[in-house]
Symmetry: C2
Subunit: 181 residues, 2 copies
DNA sequence: CACTCAATAGTACGTGTCGTACTATACAGA
DNA sequence: TCTGTATAGTACGACACGTACTATTGAGTG
């Protein structure tokens, strides 16, 4: 029962801030909110995400209440300790360096043909950008103060993805210009 | 002794392609080559990276010869199986979607102040870009055919990072223009 | 009303990854 | 020969990941 020490990771803070935004929520509700926001600059597979609230509860950062209905879902809520940890982290200016995991570039490194790879990328980035812009429209419909961070991060996320797309397009143009074998 | 089945991950292919480039090498040599190339679009902590060649050898993708000197390092080399797996992977056009892990945006999402975070980012991206451009100069000094993939991936990597930097600068400019409280 | 199908809401488990901390060798200079 | 620093790793426990499976709900259909 006494809270264990657990390490707080990026995923932990993602959960904590979503709970800060939504109030008490079930893992599934959190996961849905995640998909429309944090997922895009902090990817988390769903199995990891489902497990995280339980970890945080074990560490004393969340409290749980189990529903009695058929699905007996667990509803999690920030504790004072959780709220404090979140605020401290958000207010400290240090950030870990960003990481880009790009299998496409890895393939090119290994000698793969850049053109089809980068074309696939271009299409993917276009779709992703459209998706994010949709989320931003949705988020802008809710002008509350609590959603300010969500909107700001979507802005930044969109800028990132827009420019990534641009970089891919630029690369493809330069290829078309030069060695279009 | 009979080769185990192992899963080949991005890290595996990073090792395989580095071995393809360098020929027989020790984990440390691989790690050094990694830092100047693949690391920048496929981050791998050094402990994971050291372990990977042994895994691949257990799977039959690499062969090992242990040196007899003081440090008794192990020198790894691609087997035919390894070479085949690498080529098949590099030639297939499917690529997993790129992932961006950006703690800064996560903090902004959580309500952190965007300005100091993005300023730190700008500086980081500037330094990284300079570093990559240095590597490209180094790689261009070696105009061999085998290094073609290395050069191409550095080009792409530089374009990515340049645009990421630009996106941060654009964001900071827009902040400076609007609400510079 | 029973049945089926899709969508929703998860869990289990083994392999792989990560970070912290520690260890060991080589070599240069005092 | 001692001491420091760069080089070259290993140990290990906690954490993350992916595949596959399970269970509940609700809507439509006969």
């Amino acid at each position: 029962m006494s809270p264990q020490r657990i390490r707080l990771t990026g995923t932990s803070y993602a959960v904590l801030s979503l709970l800060g935004l939504l109030g008490p929520a079930t893992p599934y509700e959190l996961k849905r909110a995640l998909e429309q926001s944090v997922e895009n600059f902090w990817p988390v597979p769903h199995t990891t995400f489902y497990a995280e609230p339980a970890r945080l509860a074990a560490g004393g950062y969340l409290s749980v209440r189990q529903e009695s209905g058929g699905r007996r879902r667990k509803r999690y809520e920030l504790t004072e300790q959780g709220r404090r940890a979140l605020r401290e982290w958000a207010d400290s200016p240090e950030v870990a360096p960003p990481q880009l995991r790009e299998e496409g570039v890895l393939k090119i490194f290994a000698g793969g043909d850049p053109l089809p790879i980068m074309r696939a990328r271009r299409d993917w980035h276009r779709a992703k950008l459209a998706e994010l812009e949709g989320y931003l429209e949705g988020a802008s419909a809710d002008p509350s103060e609590e959603a300010r961070g969500a909107r700001a991060s979507l802005q930044v996320g969109i800028t990132y993805h827009r420019l990534l797309l641009e970089s891919v397009e630029r690369f493809l143009d330069s290829q078309a210009a030069t060695g279009s074998s």
